[in-house]
Symmetry: C2
Subunit: 277 residues, 2 copies
């Protein structure tokens, strides 16, 4: 049985008769192909290229959802059969995951795009934290005391740098409010995933990941029960990946480094707050 993903925090949703992704009970995530994909320029093209690319190191491949091919399915908007990407459902092993979707890069447009697309992105980039921070939050849910805080898209888009800092603190705290306890900061932010990704982006010149998201997942309940994995880092949304043309993805890399710095500041604050205790 297909259903609407419960823990989707950004992107098009399969609600109110609209076209969006679906999941099943076997950890599959079905993402409807856009018309672009059918012309061979979008996400499907990327997954085909990436999954057969022997130059992707094993320790980098794990940051990407597993790709199982495509399948014809009844689309969620009632328009009949449509090809869907069949991907790994990242949230399937988690009951109440906290999730951040972060769009990386200080520029979400690319030279190959249409003028209208560029102008729209340019405006959105200037009016969110994309230009100033090199990334923006696109959606989030934070689980605390048996409920989720899941702010509306419009609110998330209005976030300032200080709001982003607060969210990053709240994400790794056992409480919600002005005095975060940073309880899980070291366990969630203290790993080496950021460094591994950064090192790869300093070198790889195959793909430019325009408008791509980093999904951070943290499952507090699993962590407290000693279950692994309690945290995940995945890159998602590859509809605007373009050829790297022997140049590194300096836009993604710069944004990623800025995000890493934000996270490391939260980590440093958490250590400061522990030492004062």
């Amino acid at each position: 049985m297909l259903k609407v993903p419960e823990h989707q925090v950004a992107g098009r949703q399969a609600i109110d008769g609209k076209l969006g992704p679906l999941i099943d009970n076997s950890s599959h995530f079905y993402k409807p192909l856009q018309d672009d994909d059918e012309r061979g320029t979008g996400e499907l093209t990327f997954y085909h290229s990436f999954s057969s690319n022997t130059r992707i190191p094993h320790h980098i491949r794990r940051f990407f959802p597993v790709f199982y091919g495509t399948q014809l399915l009844k689309a969620s908007d009632g328009s009949g059969l449509r090809p869907h990407l069949v991907l790994q459902d990242i949230t399937s092993d988690h009951l109440n995951p906290s999730i951040l979707d972060i769009k990386i890069g200080s520029r979400t447009w690319y030279l190959e795009a249409s003028n209208d697309y560029i102008q729209n992105c340019f405006h959105r980039d200037k009016t969110t934290t994309t230009v100033s921070l090199g990334f923006r939050l696109c959606g989030l849910q934070i689980y605390n005391e048996s409920s989720f805080w899941k702010p509306e898209r419009k609110l998330v888009r209005s976030f300032t740098a200080d709001n982003v800092r607060s969210v990053l603190r709240m994400f790794v705290s056992s409480n919600v409010g002005p005095e975060p306890d940073f309880c899980f900061a070291d366990s969630v932010y203290g790993g080496c995933d950021g460094i591994l990704l950064k090192t790869w982006f300093e070198d790889q010149t195959m793909y430019h990941f325009c408008s791509c998201l980093v999904l951070l997942l943290f499952d507090k309940e699993s962590f407290l029960k000693g279950k692994t994995p309690f945290a995940e880092v995945k890159l998602i949304d590859f509809a605007h990946v373009v050829d790297g043309n022997s140049v590194i993805d300096h836009n993604f890399l710069g944004g990623l480094c800025s995000f890493i710095k934000f996270v490391s500041q939260v980590l440093a604050d958490s250590k400061g707050s522990t030492m004062e205790d």
Copy 2:
């Protein structure tokens, strides 16, 4: 006696009655203050802040020209006395230096600028290599066999990624033409200046260096005579430095990493070509 700098390859020049920088015989470079500076928002403000900033590591300070203060001088455009920044003349110890001026970053505008300024930069960034490579060449001169190759500004602006690669090869070769010998690649590009700068930019959140240049100087004659320094790396042009607001300069960092990758590719090619010999 003040004179027009012989080895200036980009920026406003003090020729044809225009306002531009001057040098003396004591290694000083006099740069006329723009009206912005007099309002306290431009290059002078940066030099005051930077020179008194105790958080700049010693090994980073050496990448910046020494700042000696300001001085009232007769402006080169005949408009009378005008305050000038007094800076270190980077080229003064070199008879025939090869020079590259590289504007770092995939975005040369910044949010605090006027709409007109942003639109002009946005257009220039898209039509040069700024967006695609994360940097662009702004000017250059390459010394070879008793003469300089110093292409006109218009030609430099039209450079593609391949042109940039050719220039980076030619810069470290003893010959000019389609088959560079990469003779000096290891000596010029094999050092750790790029890594030192990159490491600092991954961490520093004090300044955002918009529209700033990296000047690379290589003095072949000094090198062949065993004289040091035969190469210099300096950051110049700080008219558009803005407050970092606790965020790293992800725009400069991304562009710098892309430039480092280009240079490392030339270095790898040079080793390949040596092994084939």
